[in-house]
Amino acid sequence: MSEIRKHLRVYGMFAKTSLMQQLEYRANFIIGIITECAWLCTKLLYAFIVHRTGVEIGGLSPDQITLFVGTFILLTALYTGIFMNNLGSIPWRVRRGDLDLMLVKPISTQFHLTMREVEFATPIPNIIGGVITVAVSWSRIGLEAGFVNIVAYILLILLGITLAYSFFLVPCLLTFWTVKVRALVEIVYNCWDFNSMPMQIYGKWIQRLGVFLFPVFVIANFPVMALFNSLSPFYLIWGLIAPIGLFIIVSKMFNSAIKKYSSAGG
């Protein structure tokens, strides 16, 4: 328990120093927010299109599809704020030998390497846009905002972000074995956008691949499907097991990877 408290306190310090660093260049910080607003518009465009056509896709009304889009935006905020920069910088941190110092610190190296930086500019528009989109579509659908619904939704979002962390960390860890992983990291990262729409729009085989083999649909689709009671018991169990299971596997992989670390130029 004291270890968790210690890591939480360290994380608070990481967040504070990250914010101070980012506010040092205020123009960039503001431009970052404006740029993300433009990206937010592209995400909302999909919901806008569905509303303009007014059709039901896979039994989902335009408002229900908008709830998927809103959840995707919220998860994008969490992922970009907490993990994206950290995971993206792993290959060059390993190449530059930045881990030398991390390895001797009295905290988890995995925690230090993958959560060192907290991004503030990018998540701001996504959190605001995501919360508004979710709230408006939630109320238009007439979903009950009961305790159970909200807790289940938040729990699956947290599991989704845990899964995203583990899923996107895997290609980055390959950098410990081979230097050239940039192509793989970027290609895997671009899978994120598959969550921008409900998985019902894809064919059965893509759905199966996206749930079981490359579980991207579990990240942002499952929380909303749970709200609509359209998660089968099997999917629900998978939604609980996959994030925890993959996290354990990735942590073990991290421990093996770190043994391959040979410092700068090594």
Binding site: Y25, A27, N28, I31, G32, I34, T35, A38, W39, C41, T42, L45, Y46, F48, I49, V50, R52, T53, V55, E56, I57, G58, K180, R182, A183, E186, I187, N190, C191, D193, F194, S196, M197, Q200, I201, Y202, G203, I206
Partner: protein
Amino acid sequence: MKAIKKYYTVYTLAMQSVMQYKTDFFISLVSGGFTIIIQFFLWTAIYGASENPQLFGFEYAQMVTYVVMAGIMGKYISTGFEYEIMEDIMEGNLNRFFVQPIGHLPYRLFGFLGVKTMENAMVILISAALLGIIGITAGIQYSVMNIVLVLLIAPFSLLINCMLFYCLSVTNFWLTWGWGVFNGARVVTTILSGGIFPLDVFGETALAVLKFLPFQYIVYFPLSVVVGRVTGMDVIYGVLIQIFWIIAFYLLSRVLWKIGMKRYIAARG
């Protein structure tokens, strides 16, 4: 003649350099491919669920062709030299253009065109393959004339985008780190040029306003020719407007650079 020779050398050297960055090019193609897949399934689902065979004035085959080709067109018109100009300004590399008998704009432009010649040859081949696949699976017969026309129009689209970003690169004289400006401008340009969805989805009013802006002549206009929504004299009018925007951006870039150069301090140069 000497001027042509030196810029031709820049052009050929840039063509050769593409092979060094073939991994980057491959990544961007695959990444763009994901967006195309999402769009394809989205529109297939929408048309499948709609009782109306036409949405926003597009039939299914036209819409699928448009969104798939929009993804490809995004690659065709993409720039990237703006980051090099940012470094030129930050690192003081512009100094060499004061002493060397070479202009900054033609140097960057010919270098860019050299890179794009190689990349776009690949893009055109992929487009041909995709059009063939869509044509066979959706039973569409494309007009050969439209395809030839778009091959002639697309370079003008590329030049508009190129000159637009050349103008934007001047912001680095003030910002020193214009990464965010370029990214933001890229997203806005993509949306307003019809690079994600055809502009018709925004409604008549937006379409009327966008006619007075350069963006739609980058993606929407050439792709409207491909799907047969712009024909005859309208194609010629469209090309003339494209040429107008290229000249306008060229002149604007000259003025902006003159103002920007007054702030240039040759840091680290």
